[in-house]
């Protein structure tokens, strides 16, 4: 419990809007806003500003990338030896930035892939609040967890190493079309993120973003396996985690 008498500062209002506020202070700020209409109006105006920015500039993301910016073209220039991780990142993360706003449209038509994402977010919600039994196999049995999930799912399930996050463990879940793997990570401050994988009909897709209430998820498919990374708040953080997961899956080949 934090002290509700501590007044909310201007910095905290910004941090609140930008999802940079520590989770335990969010409630205080919300209570403050309920009783301070001027601040609430300011917060609202900043949100409207973000909407306006996205409304104005997100169309750029949908434009075809001009020929002169294609990586193939750029790396054909003399120094071919530089071709490597950077080019891979540029190519792989095609959608990286459109995260958030653009993909609202994508949730309109429910597809198998969308359903799968909904399952993943539901599982996230269900188990993340669990204190005593969040997982079946604890994180200190990493290799056993990986072997077991790989065997039961039928594709390679790896628990990636994620900077700043500890593996809580994992469990097997029933998915809409067969088994699904579910792994949970935790930060030092107790934020939990989950990685869900299931068989996907789409062989490979771009990375997409979806938000439902407080939870948001980044999802994509690669080599017939769908990945959904879920967490609360901060889109940037979720993107970093998803990127790390993607990169580690990429590296191991498969």
């Amino acid at each position: 419990m934090t002290d509700r008498n501590i007044p909310v500062t201007e910095d905290e209002l910004h941090a609140y809007v930008d999802n940079e506020l520590p989770a335990e202070r969010r409630g205080d700020v919300e209570a403050w806003l309920a009783s301070h209409p001027d601040d609430a109006a300011r917060v609202q105006s900043w949100r409207a500003m973000a909407e306006a920015l996205h409304a104005r500039y997100d169309s750029v993301v949908d434009e075809a990338v001009p020929k002169r910016l294609e990586i193939e073209r750029l790396v054909q220039q003399p120094r071919r030896w530089v071709y490597g991780a950077i080019a891979a990142t540029l190519a792989a993360f095609v959608v990286g930035g459109s995260v958030g706003w653009l993909v609202r449209g994508a949730t309109a038509g429910p597809s198998a892939f969308q359903n799968l994402t909904v399952h993943a977010i539901e599982a996230h919600r269900l188990y993340v609040v669990e204190v005593r039994h969040p997982v079946e196999v604890p994180g200190n049995e990493r290799s056993h967890l990986q072997q077991w999930l790989t065997k039961r799912c039928g594709w390679v399930v790896r628990a990636p190493e994620l900077a700043g996050l500890k593996l809580v463990g994992g469990r097997l879940l029933p998915g809409s079309a067969g088994p699904a793997s579910f792994m949970m990570y935790e930060s030092a401050s107790g934020e939990r993120f989950t990685i869900y994988t299931a068989k996907s009909e789409a062989g490979a897709t771009q990375m997409r973003y979806s938000a439902q209430g407080n939870e948001s998820a980044l999802f994509w498919a690669d080599r017939g396996v769908a990945y959904v990374v879920s967490g609360v708040g901060d889109r940037g953080r979720l993107t970093q985690i998803a990127q790390a997961v993607y990169d580690q899956m990429e590296k191991k080949g498969g």
Binding site: H14, M49, Y57, V60
Partner: protein, 152 residues
């Protein structure tokens, strides 16, 4: 990643061709200096290069007489509404560092920490730049609306 860089560049430079020049220079530089990249987040690094290139561009521009239109006259595919023009115009009135912070946080969704690294300043500076940018844009948008109302 490239579409996101283009969006940031477009909002930062306000001219579609200049924006794509910036992205191209950023990509070329990133690909050539891969060996100088000491690890960390590639995405942040690309935004850093683009931000710095734009700063250099403006610096060299400042030495020449101004030919650039100050307002955004490019008719973009969408966002044709008056609101889109308003926000572009409001952005144009910000000083460079503030515009960059505002766009990186609000449009590109980067964290304060990442923006601090990109601009090479402490987080506190990022926060005060962001606060000033938001206040300025808000005032600018409201001022414009009041002005319009008065004309009517």
């Amino acid at each position: 990643m490239i579409p996101a860089l283009r969006r940031y560049a477009r909002a930062l430079a306000r001219d579609a061709d200049i924006a794509d020049d910036l992205v191209q220079d950023t990509l070329v530089r990133a690909l050539r200096s891969e060996r100088l990249f000491l690890g960390g987040d590639v995405r942040s690094w690309l935004y850093t290069i683009l931000t710095n290139l734009n700063k250099n561009r403006r610096r060299s521009l400042a030495r020449r007489p101004q030919f650039m239109p100050l307002l955004d006259n490019n008719a973009d595919a969408s966002g044709t509404e008056a609101e889109g023009r308003d926000i572009a115009r409001a952005l144009a009135t910000l000083v460079e560092e503030q515009r960059s912070v505002l766009l990186l946080v609000m449009l590109e969704g980067l964290s304060y920490r990442e923006v601090a690294d990109i601009q090479g300043v402490p987080i506190g500076t990022v926060m005060s730049r962001l606060a000033r940018a938001r206040a300025h844009v808000k005032a600018s948008l409201e001022g414009e609306r009041t002005a319009l109302r008065r004309v009517k």
